[in-house]
């Protein structure tokens, strides 16, 4: 699967995808028009941002979260909905280089932002080093929390590299090290009920050590 096939959301598809909620014009499908008419009764807002290197423009019900925008409008279902309340971390994506729980963020707040999802990190035929390390160390089982774990893991190593302290950082003035405890502490917002934590720790350590 090439990168393009993997994420080939064209402007036309984005518009069609957005039609379920949006007052989009000239959608030549009766049900979509009916949907748009119905949806017209609720406030919508245009928003444009970049997802995995591609610009998207949407007209959205203002209540739509970034998570549901990705999953339902852009069909990027790699980002998971585990709780919809910011409790589990399955929906973790990176916005302007910083990880966020996309379920706690409304899409219309992201005008001009740059969003990276699991699909933007790698593909089955071209895995990101963290994805490859998760496969090697079996850092997952059911796979549902996995995209969020991987997005967090990549972000955590970057946070440590930037010297951003955590609750367990012993020395706030020295060079921060990607110790197991640092990583575990920072990953604790990503629940894995299959309990792959020990393997995820191995995968992250391997990537951290290069």
């Amino acid at each position: 699967m090439s990168d393009n096939e993997h994420f080939s959301v064209s402007r036309r598809e984005v518009m069609a995808g957005g039609a379920a909620t949006a007052a989009a014009t000239a959608i030549p499908v009766a049900s979509a028009r009916a949907a748009a008419e119905q949806a017209g009764q609720v406030p919508t807002m245009p928003v444009a941002f970049e997802v995995n290197g591609k610009k998207v423009e949407l007209n959205l019900d203002t209540r739509t979260t970034l998570l549901d925008t990705l999953r339902e409008h852009l069909k990027l279902t790699g980002t998971k909905k585990g709780c919809d309340h910011g409790q589990c971390g399955a929906c973790t994506v990176m916005v302007n280089g910083t990880r966020v729980n996309s379920c706690l963020s409304l899409a219309v707040m992201h005008q001009g932002d740059t969003v990276t999802t699991i699909e933007g990190l790698g593909t089955p035929d071209d895995l990101h080093p963290m994805q490859a390390a998760f496969v090697k160390h079996d850092g997952y089982q059911c796979g549902y929390c996995t995209p969020g774990q991987i997005c967090s893991a990549v972000s955590v190593l970057e946070e440590i590299r930037q010297g951003i302290p955590s609750h367990v950082t012993e020395d706030l003035t020295g060079t921060m090290q990607p110790t197991r405890d640092e990583m575990r502490e920072r990953m604790s917002g990503n629940i894995c009920r299959c309990g792959a934590y020990s393997n995820i720790s191995d995968a992250m350590s391997e990537v951290a050590e290069g």
């Binding site: 998971k80 549902y144 929390c145 009920r193 393997n199």
Partner: protein, 730 residues
Amino acid sequence: MEFNAPAGENLFDKARIVGKSTPRIDGPLKTTGTAPYAYERHDVAPDAAYGWIVGSAIAKGRITSMDVEDARNAPGVIAVIAAPETKPVGTSPYNHAPLFGGREVAHYHQAIACVVAETFEQARAAAHLIRTRYDREAAEYDLAELAPQAPLADGGKALHKRGDFDAAFDAAPVKIDATYHTPDESHAMMEPHATIASWKGEELTLWTSNQMINWGKEALGQILGIAPEKIRLDSPYIGGGFGGKLFIRADAVLAALASKAAQRPVKIALQRPLIFNNTTHRPATIQRVRLGATRDGRITAVGHENWSGNITGTDGEDGTAQTPKLYAGANRMTANYTATLPLPEGNAMRAPGEAAGHLAFEVAMDELAEALAMCPVELRIKNDPGAEVPGDPSKRFSERHLTRCLKEGAERFGWSKRKAKPGQVREGRWLIGMGVAGGYRGAPIQKSAAGVRLSGDGMLIVETDMTDIGTGSYTIIAQTAAETMGLPLDRVRVELGDSRYPVSSGSGGQWGAASSTAGVYAACLVLRRAIGEKLGFDGDSADFTDGAIRANGKSFALNDAGEMSADGEMTYGDFQSDYDLGTYAGHFCEVAVDAYTGETHIRRMLSVCDAGRILNPLSARSQVIGAMVMSAGAALTEELAVDRRFGYFVNHDLAGYEVPVHADIPHQDVVFLDTLDSVISPLKAKGVGELGICGPGSAVANAVYNATGVRVREYPITLDKYLDRLPAIG
């Protein structure tokens, strides 16, 4: 084919692929977010409308009125399904609580309405416009109050005696008598129960998240009153289940009803705050364990009584399940009582019975060891029962290596450094302790079928309705087929979870790995014979290796067979009923308890497992460490808090129901003993996924005691229960 005698030597004893650590073949899809889960099937239902389920605000009583007009008139709403307007759906043998329809409410967050709209946001907003009034009935929700009157389970049959327990316990020079409490627990799998339903005329397709495809198909037929043949279930990827997705739940029922009403596909995921009360849970238990022994540590009396409750008064949590199997003792008594308790439905959660049972029984063993002034590892080894099942002498163990698990574990863990007297080891602010537990989980095996197909271009396709709930089924099935057909792993494609495929064992009770691979093996043997008939050799005796076949001095390429397919099923003969098929483990744990705050950290965990041939050590290890994590949660953090006034679980989300997170779990070690069990199947393999939750929590509890000298018998062991009893800070 029927497996009707213990397996002799076969191709798995010279395996090249089975038994080798193999990264999951579905790994690249799962790690890139491209494995499609139930709610994500835009490919099959691009025009699906969105459903939102409303749960009952009372636990028991009746809906007196439900006003849905505002919801029906809300923007984007397509349909509203209201329970008072809907005849109650049918039941199936797999469900205890009613799923939908009518005015009666049997438990909190029972589904009472479903709003279908063009968008998720519209469905959610409209659902909040429904106004429901109830006539609430009072009820008793406290297990401790109900337990004394609870009847024996299994229609009064759940009392098992051998010898004279009362006399032996009275006469024992050393004894313990302790009562333990385990709380209600939730599966809390990461993927919510989710379904997309679509009707074509009378035919219904559900893209859903279900562990047991054929059970689900049959049950849904009964629930909806349609022929199961008209129903298709498809669950290729399942975001965790742990028993919570063994059964059809409200998402599937309401997606089906709503799709009919809306006349288009409807998708529903149970909202996370509904899951804890709407679906099933592991029931709480009260367990009294009495053990008597001679002064030199021979157990003479074993008594274990268990009380739990459930909505129908049946199928509670039987904490005595492991007790007849683990240790010797001539005089025995186990009893299991189930109260009628109108909380949400209790049902199977990972190692039902044993998981809770070990938390009591394996701590009681620790208490007995202390009373005897004996090493708890030694006590367990001394009471190894030999060949016969101590609680049921009509059966003998097929394979049992618990003593080896304990000895190897003690050696590897550095058990000899443990101080028998608790509260003696201090490292700075930390009190350090070690704990051990034995572990037993039955190894049931089920008939299982599969279809195998040679594509003609070098690929072998395996099709079975088996599920992969994170257990690694895709990979072990591919390994089994590759081994049997003599193909490299990458020439095998595995298709799972579709009810159009042959009926498998499904995933539950840690039977999935052993059962489904045996079924695939059976199908491959049928295919080998068919190829042999086509090309002129004996498929059973031929050698299939690396895509080539050698038979009677002749050589063929597997591709010479062209396109071919075969179905096969493995069934099991009566000879297995002479045996107890089980899995065993020795679990070890080291904890550090903050001497000032009482905060507990797990520092090390080790499980040594005896579970037959390990088909894929990489994923089997993950099964065990994952179960150790869940067991650590049961010991230290997990509890569904019961509101005893209003009858519901208060902490019904992932913020309030505390499962272990990264910071709670250290590096974990797992050792698999190289044991084979020829009684279970031709692969000589048993499951491990539930063995790992039978005992590690007890080792944690015993380690906390060893660290602090405070014994907490009410799980979870949270610091509020022992902070005032910690040793004085010296």
